[in-house]
Symmetry: C2
Subunit: 300 residues, 2 copies
């Protein structure tokens, strides 16, 4: 089944203890749609400027990402982000962000995508998420990813969005920030009262959990020793999770657990290289091998 992902396509300059990259391929929509394309028909809605490198489009296309929804705007510049990870890799410092072409972006789904059943609203402005949703015909499952910036600066729009989505993905710090509640489990329960019927809370190196009214599923993170660049970890987690859900077309406990397992493994592969350097060379069998290895580690 097809998944439509909305998110940024950007140039990322990243510094980590393992090196740096200048204006490399990045953006929430890029990471998420690429991750989803391992599992399902993946479609990206994004906007870039005329400085966009066509090789990056080619990279995505060659992995099966449909770019019909990628708008290239003349006379504008692609979104740019510059971040630095400290030695403990736990959080990153944003040194510069230039939204550029995304500043005035009211995305719409291409005509042929308006009936797509699965939608991932990747990290981005809630107003843009609403714009995309308004252009579509009641998708079957809508999941949004959010981040601290929008909780701080677009809370009202975000809270309104929560009533239009099925699931919310965010990290534990953001869950606490959104609800004012100190425990991530209690914060997740509070988010369920705000609209979504499930919430996925990512806890960095400690894993993630999925909560709905009557369900709670826990997954530790995959213990990779080789974190080179955590950029896009959350986006690739969300993309892979939605890719599996779109492919399986149900939300049974078995499917949800499978989605969380693959999401965890795909995110772990992504962060083992800068930008999409590692990610673009990952073979599906490599994912399966790591999933099998991960299962061995999990106590149940």
């Amino acid at each position: 089944m097809s998944l439509v992902t909305l998110g940024s396509a950007a140039y990322d300059t990243v510094e980590s203890p393992f090196g740096s990259r200048v204006r490399a391929l990045g953006g929430s929509g890029v990471y998420a749609s690429f991750a989803a394309s391992f599992f399902t028909q993946s479609r990206l809605v994004a906007v870039v400027g005329e400085d966009w490198n066509p090789e990056y489009s080619e990279l995505l296309r060659s992995h099966g990402v449909d770019l019909t929804g990628l708008e290239i705007r003349k006379g504008e510049k692609t979104t740019f982000w510059h971040g630095r990870y400290p030695a403990d890799m736990n959080c990153c410092q944003t040194l510069d962000i230039q939204l550029n072409v995304m500043l005035e972006y009211s995305p719409e789904a291409p005509e042929s995508w308006k009936n797509a059943p699965y939608v991932l609203l990747g990290n981005g402005a809630p107003e843009a998420d609403v714009s995309l949703l308004d252009s579509m015909n009641r998708p079957k499952l809508v999941v949004a990813d959010t981040m601290n910036y929008y909780i701080d600066n677009a809370r009202e729009a975000l809270v309104a969005l929560l009533r239009r989505i099925d699931g919310l993905i965010l990290n534990d710090g953001e869950a606490k920030q959104l609800t004012g509640v100190d425990s991530s489990l209690d914060a997740a329960r509070k988010i369920l009262e705000m609209g979504p019927r499930f919430v996925v809370v990512k806890r960095g190196e400690y894993g993630a959990f999925w909560m709905s009214e009557n369900e709670l599923y826990l997954v530790p993170s995959y213990p990779t020793r080789k974190v080179v660049d955590p950029t896009g970890a959350g986006d690739s987690f969300a993309g892979a999770m939605m890719g599996v859900l779109a492919e399986e077309q149900d939300l049974t406990p078995a499917t949800v657990k499978k989605a969380l397992l693959y999401a965890t493994v795909v995110a772990s592969l992504n962060i083992e290289g800068f930008s999409l350097e590692r990610f673009q060379n990952v073979r599906r069998e490599e994912i399966e091998e790591r999933v099998a290895q991960f299962r061995e580690m999990l106590v149940f």
Copy 2:
């Protein structure tokens, strides 16, 4: 199979956001031996003063804890601890600690316990651990629990102890403190080079992992909503883990995973009440029910 646990038997005064208790039953040996007694023949080596409440001995005995190794010293006072947990329950503040009778304690195993195959050296001075080990005939499996205090104040004795044990249990902060390494996985690897053939790192609300040279097992924590008093969480985890290992008498992956699962569940039950108030009323079936429920939550 029988398990000998060395640890403190103490009076604990505890304050948490949910209330307080004055001079209640506590101590690493008490929590650990009680937890182990759900699963195996549990024996406690400890020392108390003449102010020891005989009802506390009775409580332990009635749960199957053999107190042949409990020394009651005339003219001395029982160890006392006073702690306070803040609103987030994440760490506790020690307001007072009086080691009293434990200050000069060189424990020995009772004659009939000298051949016991399983030994848990609960939280306590490394010198006392060595004293107990010296009194026994090469146990089959020796596991030690340690804490920040001894890493700071008895590092040399602790490092020497590491060469005499099979497994070390500690929390992630302590693993980093002991090794100077920032990631808990890397810290665990470093600990394996210091002597033990396995290490169990507890990560509080994020769960725990077991690592040996060729194994890594991950377990999230059981998401109880009702943390009343975290005192003894680590001790009951260690006691239950060793109780299962002693009963199963092997270290196959299946047994190790089972031990971690039960340890997690038993610790979660303990912290739902002050002192042993909740713990003493836990039925074995309740543990099994929670284990079954927990398995449902775990992604694998």
